[in-house]
Symmetry: D2
Amino acid sequence: MAEGKFTGEQVLNLARRACIEGNASFDVVPEKCALLVIDMQDEFVKPHWTPDWIPEATRQVPRIRKLIEHCREKEIPVIFTVYSKTHNYLDRPKTGPSMPGWYSELKIDRSSFFKEGRIWHELAPRKDEIVIHKPSYGAFYDTPLETILRNLGKDTVIICGTITYCCCGMTARQAYERSFKVVFGSDVTSTDCPEMQEPELKVLRKNFAKVMTADEIIQMLK
Amino acid sequence: MAEGKFTGEQVLNLARRACIEGNASFDVVPEKCALLVIDMQDEFVKPHWTPDWIPEATRQVPRIRKLIEHCREKEIPVIFTVYSKTHNYLDRPKTGPSMPGWYSELKIDRSSFFKEGRIWHELAPRKDEIVIHKPSYGAFYDTPLETILRNLGKDTVIICGTITYCCCGMTARQAYERSFKVVFGSDVTSTDCPEMQEPELKVLRKNFAKVMTADEIIQMLK
Amino acid sequence: MAEGKFTGEQVLNLARRACIEGNASFDVVPEKCALLVIDMQDEFVKPHWTPDWIPEATRQVPRIRKLIEHCREKEIPVIFTVYSKTHNYLDRPKTGPSMPGWYSELKIDRSSFFKEGRIWHELAPRKDEIVIHKPSYGAFYDTPLETILRNLGKDTVIICGTITYCCCGMTARQAYERSFKVVFGSDVTSTDCPEMQEPELKVLRKNFAKVMTADEIIQMLK
Amino acid sequence: MAEGKFTGEQVLNLARRACIEGNASFDVVPEKCALLVIDMQDEFVKPHWTPDWIPEATRQVPRIRKLIEHCREKEIPVIFTVYSKTHNYLDRPKTGPSMPGWYSELKIDRSSFFKEGRIWHELAPRKDEIVIHKPSYGAFYDTPLETILRNLGKDTVIICGTITYCCCGMTARQAYERSFKVVFGSDVTSTDCPEMQEPELKVLRKNFAKVMTADEIIQMLK
C-alpha cells in the first residue's frame, strides 16, 4: 500500500480490523489511573423502577463491584457520577425533553426520578470518595472532573457503568479529547438494546479507548 | 406501565423504538440554522490518496453539494471544518497516535497528509464562508464554533460530512450538550465500514439528533 | 486623529477617558437579566470570623439586600455563588495554597472555613433560587452557570458581591468573554484594600462592563 | 490572631501586605516553563499607527526581546498570541464594539487593523514557534493553548506583552484557574495608562501570579 494507491478494499479492511481487533498501544500505569463509575444509580439499576431501567446494568453489579474493590485495594481513586436534581434541572441541555429517549409518550409522574441521585446500594461510595453530580451525558461537561483528575495526578481513566453508547461513550470521547488515556470495560458497561453494545465498542476501539474485560483490567492493575 | 412496574421486555421495546423510529419533537426554524460540513477534505474524499479515504464520502459528494447549494440559496450559513497542520500538530489529543485508527502499522510517509486541509474541490467554500481548522474529532473542542454560532444567532446545526461515527457523531453530541438543536443527515454522512452507519444513527436518533435524509432536510428548509 | 498619526498624548487621553468616564453603549432589557450575588458567605461577611473577612462587604449588606429584593420583585432571577467543601476540595486550582492571598503565614485551624458555604443570613437565598458551589474564583469555570443562564434565556448579568478585583472581576471578565452583557455594581462590590476598588472599576469600565451604582441599576430595571 | 477575633485593621494589613510584598511560594522548574508573548503586534507596538498604540509596549521591546532570546537559548518554548481577521471576526465576544475601549467615537477607517496579526518585526517568531490567533482577551478562551501546553509537558507560563490589565492579566487569571503556575513580568508588560500598571500587579501578586522583573525571571531560568 502506498500514497495514492489505496484501493477501496484495502481501506475497508484497515478500518474493519481497527474496529474489531484494534488495541490502543499506550501503556497503562496503575498509579496514574482513576476508575469512573458512570450513573450506576437507582434509576438505571433498581429493577422495574423506571422506564430507564437497564436490566443488563443490574446483572453487571457484581462484576463492577469486584472492579471497584480491586481499585480500592490498589489505591486507585474511584469517582462516581450521577444525575440528580441539580440547579433545579436548569443545568441540562435544552433539547433533552424533545428527544425520543426521554419517553415523553409515557404519561407517568417522573417527579421522584433523578432527584437524589442515589447510587445503587451494592455499589455505594465510601465517604471519602468523590461523587460528581453531572448535568449532561458526558461527565466532563460543565463539571470539574478534568481539574480533579489533574489535581490527583492521573492521566488514565477506566470507565464502567451505564449506558455504553450514551454517558459512558460520551465520557470516553471527552476523556480522549482531553488527552487522557482511556480504558473502557467491555463487560462492565451496558446498553438497553443488547445489539448496540458491540457497535459502540467498535467505535471506541478504533478511535478512543483500549477496550478490555473487567478481568483483563484487574490483571493489568495488579 | 407505571413506576415500579416496568418489565424487562417493556424497557427493551421502549429503547428499541426510540433508536429505530425515534424523531426528535423540536421544531426547526430555517433562519436559526447553520450547516456544518465536516472534514470533506482531500484526505478523506480524494480517491485512493490516503489510507483514510472513505469511498462512501466520495460517492456522497453530489448530494452534499446539493445540500450546500440549497443552504446558500436560503442564506443559511455554511461552515466547513478541516484538519490541517495547525500549531505544529501540538493541539491534538495526546493519545491519537496510539489508537488503532491511526494505522501506524502502515509504514508510509504521511508528511503530505492533513497539512493544508484542502476541501475537496467540488465542495470548495466560497470566500466569505467560514472554515474551522479543528484540532480534535469534535468541531466544538478548542475552537470558537459555539461563539460563532451564537454570534450568528443560530440555535440549530445541520450536520453532514464524514466520518459518521467519529467527527460527525462527536460534533453532534457536543452540539446537543451545548443546547443546540441537531439535525443529522443520514445519507450525507459516511463511514469506512458500511455496517457502522446504522448503529450510529440509532444512537443519535434516540438521544442527540433529528436524523433525516438530505431530501427531507431540503424539504424542511423550503 | 488619523491612521498613522496618533500621538502618545492622544492615545493616553483616549485610554484614560475610557477608564474614567467610559459607559458601555449596549441596552439592558430587564427581562434578559439575571443578578449574580458573588460569595456573600459567612467567611467574607461575618465580622471578625476569618482572616478573609471583608468589612466593606459587611457594610454593603443592606444595599445588596435592596438590590436582591428589587430583582425578586421584577422576577429577575437571583443566582448566588459560594465556596464550600466540594469534591473534597480536589476541584480547586492547584497553586491556590501557594499564593500570598492564602495567608499561610497564619498558623490557624481553617477546617471550619469554606465548608458549608453558608450565605450570610440577611441575604439568604429563597428555596427556589439557585446556589452555585463554585470551585474557582470565576463563577463560570467548571460550573454550569453559562448553561443555566442560556436555559433561562438571559443575555445580561448584573454582578454584586465580593471581592471586586477577584471573584467579581473574574466573573465579569468571563461573562464578557462568553458574549453576555455585563452590569457591574460599583457600590455593591467590595475589596479588602479600599484603594483597590477604583482601579478595578476602571479596567471593567473600559473593557468589560457597564459600571453603575445600585441605585442606578434599580432605576434601570424599573 | 485567631478564629473569630480578626479586627478590621488586621485583615486590612494582611491583604495589603499580600498585594504589595506577596510572593507566591511555588518553585519554578525551567524545563516545565513556556513563555507567552501576548499581542506584541503592530497595532499595539508600531508608533502612531492606531489609537490602540501602547507607547510603553514599544519602549519595552528590547527587554522583551532579551527575555525571548534567553528562553530560546534555554529551549523554553516561546508561544506568541495575536489578534487577526479570524473567522471573519465572528469569533469575538459580542459586546466588544459596545465597550468604551473600542473608541467608536473616532470616525476612522479600521479595516486595515487587526487583519494580518503581524508581530512587531523586532520580536518576529521563528518559523517553528507557535502563534495563536486568539479571538478574545484571554489566550485560553476558544483556543487550544491549554492542550498545547499540556502536550509540551509544561506546568508554568511566563507572561509578557501587552496590555497588563487586559489580555495579559486575563491570560494570567485563566492560567491560574487551569492549575498552571504563573510568572508575570512586571517590566515586560505595559498599559496605556501608566497609573494602571501597579494596581493590576497588586491583584496578580496576591491571588494569581509570581510577579517578577525580566532580570529576575532570566536569573531564575539560568
